[in-house]
């Protein structure tokens, strides 16, 4: 219970300032020659300290595989892995042992559990996503080779990448610090983030993810619809506030006559407002969705707050924090999507006699 995936599952552990993060991937099929460099590469894309617009924390974020892989191939047995925590400055957090930071999970954890590892946010830290990147980048390798999963930053604050995704060159996603493949927009986003950072403030944005060449038939009719599984996964990302796929919230303004995707004779569709999914099942067109992220709650400015006892306190973010979580969330979205797809892809292999 409370794992990622249905058949192919990921169970995880770890707290921000604990000894290590890690996870177990169950039911990974045997015989896959795994590319572990690629896994580390994805972790490197997520790790802190990559550029001037993300946190300056230094963590090597090195994954260590402990089981389930033998002579370079998966054995079909559980894959255990850990990522050790290295650069814990727990003292940076002693000021919040009793204080409740606004829009953080300090209060709710205390209320729910009656106890809380306050250091770096403990379990509520987004550092948990290292586990997902490991599992997702392995799971990606289970999908047919031509399946492409690309996410990019499509907005930062009020700055939107106005081009439709079809006009973007996804090979340029990692070419700039903000991971928006449109150079001009990227520049504006980077300036905005730098400005916001200087103010000790933070800013939100959206990530768009596009999945190409997904086979037809992925997703289950009821309670396992492809869009629902993707939504669930994405909405578990720490700062996620919204999810839409295909026409999304815009589709809610349209009429059926305009919204319906008419077929071509090869079973592709002329338009793709459906976002590649009909009845919860992929139809062979691009699957695309968008995730909204709120601005990071930790700001480097004094904020009025209260402590555990209800007394007024002032809290102020110290240490090294992300002014904008979006660039680092790009590999999280991509690899999380990969895990969801791999799980449903495997299941789909046994849905017919």
């Amino acid at each position: 219970m409370f794992n990622l995936g249905n058949f192919l599952t990921l169970s995880t552990f770890g707290e921000s300032h604990g000894i290590a993060y890690g996870g177990i991937i169950n039911n990974f099929p045997a015989g896959l020659e795994v590319n572990l460099e690629e896994v580390q590469h994805q972790l490197d894309r997520r790790k802190p300290g990559q550029s001037a617009i993300v946190t300056q924390r230094k963590e090597s974020d090195t994954v260590k595989f402990l089981s389930g892989i033998f002579e370079g191939k998966t054995t079909g047995t559980p894959i255990g892995f850990t990522i050790e925590n290295e650069n814990q400055k727990s003292k940076d957090y002693s000021h919040i042992a009793d204080a409740y930071r606004p829009s953080h999970a300090d209060f709710t954890y205390d209320q729910k559990f009656g106890i809380r590892d306050h250091r770096g946010g403990g379990k509520s830290s987004a550092r948990e996503t290292v586990n997902w990147v490991v599992a997702g980048s392995l799971a990606k390798q289970l999908l047919p080779e031509n399946v492409e999963i690309n996410a990019y930053v499509s907005s930062v604050g009020e700055i939107f990448c106005e081009k439709p995704y079809q006009d973007l060159d996804f090979s340029q996603i990692d070419s700039n610090d903000v991971r928006c493949p449109d150079a001009e927009t990227a520049e504006k986003m980077i300036s905005k983030i730098k400005e916001i950072k200087k103010e000790g403030n933070t800013i939100g944005g959206t990530i768009t993810c596009v999945i190409k060449n997904l086979p037809v038939g992925i997703g289950e009719p009821v309670f396992g619809k492809l869009q629902a599984e993707l939504a669930k996964a994405m909405m578990n990302i720490n700062a996620a506030k919204g999810f839409e796929y295909g026409s999304g919230f815009c589709g809610a303004k349209m009429t059926g006559k305009d919204h319906n995707d008419l077929f071509n004779e090869d079973f592709s569709t002329r338009t793709n407002l459906s976002g590649g999914i009909q009845g919860g099942i992929s139809n062979g067109m691009d699957v695309y969705f968008r995730v909204a992220f709120k601005p990071v709650a930790t700001i480097l400015r004094p904020q009025e707050s209260i402590d555990k006892a209800g007394n007024s306190v002032t809290v102020e973010g110290k240490g090294r924090h992300d002014p904008c979580v979006l660039p680092r969330a790009v590999p999280i979205v991509e690899n999380l999507a990969a895990f969801v797809l791999a799980d449903l892809f495997l299941i789909n292999r046994i849905r017919r006699i």
Copy 2:
């Protein structure tokens, strides 16, 4: 696998033109005096033929409980129920046995399963949601009595209910056919839907749901976040295209300084852009979210399409269909939310020693 819920689970069955729909609720606690009239009332809110702006199909949608309730109380054993199908005009669908309706699941089901009950869309029909309303309205009775769950139609096409939910009188939701508690907006929406209906067209919209008095502590830290469980449930509704909670997609445009919800001394917050959830766990403030629905794919106008063999055909909706799914989706959203909450509420009772 592919049930609703984690501990309290709902497993369902049924196709549009099959014999019956039904479900099994597992792990429902014993000793609850259940109000079965309320369950039927919720079904009546969802059923077809209620007003001029929804489908004119007639189904009594009467739920029959088969087990798990004894002398008016739950016994702790599985609750089985059925809702018989009555008004099947399967002939209305013979024209689509081989044709693929645009933006329907005909093609994807055929591709996935190699076989498909085409009558009325078979398993892909939204009639499946009768099951959810039954289970959700029972589950609602597990929650503390003061928990209020109200959904309403917040937009139809380009017509939006501009008032914030705080200014609405939820007791007025059912007072008009479209289920928007703002009378003036409701009137506009109804006119719009009638106009659209006359054209044989359909229209989309959004539903906003507000949960009041939810206890603090509901939701799980990782892979069971309250927003993720709600998103998963909502995105399994047939026409749902998007989900957002709290500040949602708007929050993605904001800065941390403006977005953070500062505490009052009683642990409530001054603002509630968090939407009542922090770190995946309810904080005692209102939980609110919005779901986007696309326009119904079945339109009563000829559309070009193809058949199973790839030949051009013309399809045209016959029979009785909803020009706008929103009014009937209101009880679906409410009761589905209730089920999600009841599941996490029960689980929360065993998360501390």
Copy 3:
């Protein structure tokens, strides 16, 4: 939670004197042409009133499929079914509304749930197994055609079928009322049961089940071992007290030198004390196991007992009861085994790249 199966799952409901039993089979693959007569045939083998040595209750035990099957084939969507209760003589049970029958679940249900449908034992009735026979006999049809699953009564009280299973003709299992394929032993068993019945007493026994031609590779390495999944299923049968496979408890007396199964050159083994399973995974040899059943607790004789309040009462079975549950348990064991195998068989199809 608390379903049968892992991927292919059965969720069930029903109480002895409720309206109906029923279940939902999830994730049954599409495209199987199902033999529903065979399902009914298996139910008929289980039903009461078949012979002089089982209960004389009359129930037609007719299964009605409500979904998931279209034009004779499975559609891949949930299969819902019900078996209506017909012959409820609830009054036979009014005397136990407050009394606790020895070795029944009256006391434990009351303690656990605080409420209990006492009529016919309610949920604790073995009538629940009708659901398992339906699901198991459908699941059996998913297995390769040459897989044979035969169970038979191998002992009643002190009367044992001394012949090893290899010397028995399984086609004779249903040729007599007790379902022991050795005619001579069967006769002794039948006489014994008749004698016991005359005394108003009941008697226990064992069932042996043999699975032939099971493909190699079925079962999972850890927490899904074939023997563990079989044991779990069998120990859920109401009167089951023990499970052993292969050499079983006898194997515990042996030494490794004598117990090890040496290989033939075709990878079969010379002996089969392993019972066709090594490391939790089938090895292609016969899988065989034995289940112990206690004597039915309801005896038609007065027994001292207590009621809910702790007062002394006398209870005496009334109505129509089985003097020996074994003959009717044979199809339960077979079909339950079939379900377990079909679930693991499907899963095994996705355990390799």
Copy 4:
């Protein structure tokens, strides 16, 4: 899928000669002050090299907790742990890279997965049970303090501890190398094992486990019966061949009149052939069960066998192996039982309104 437990779950990983074993315990309640010395103590009871009658391998088997515990208390978040492998003599196993050892899982793993970590049996090694002891001994601490779980060796080969468990002093279980609390029988068992060991042979036996003071109400009515959950867990232990509880296989020889447990006026029962469970639910009497273990398959004598290609080979156990697995299996049985009970105990807290 394929975890231990239903709500409280254990997911595990590790191979005999991999880097480490480990696991994740999910949904462990918050606020428990954990005794980690006790966990290590239980591991020490299981570890190799404790006495002359078990394997002489040396492993410190030190558990390292990586998360979920803060300042000595559980936080309600996932508990991750590892036990590093230290004393891997992988060369001891190079001779079996291609050979199939009789009654081992070499052949079935190869057939199932097409690949196999042959070193020390890889995933099929009973070393996996270190994970279960860690999780079980933590879970034990969730149970009411007066719950006692004691297992002991009740037979080795043909040597049985004839005394009923009621006549044994469980405090003497660890007082001798074989873990049979009856000193006289223990001596005979030890002699027997030494003799067997000298021959390079191995021997089987049984373990009896007695649970005292278990609260009434533990276990679920259908598919979650206490005996079924225990059976499933026990039958997942590597060498387990059989499980029985209460009267077990002996009960199958009895009549209802003799087998029924009559009530005392305090709701206890005069006899306890039911083994403390009625209708799958604990009744407050002692729960007791017995597990049969086959002799270890690795014998230090040449055995004829075949290799992967079907060629004749001779295999001979090298290295350090257990002549009898029973003494080390005692803590496995106890702690596994504790995990099963803790899971069902937690669940029982939410089975009533």
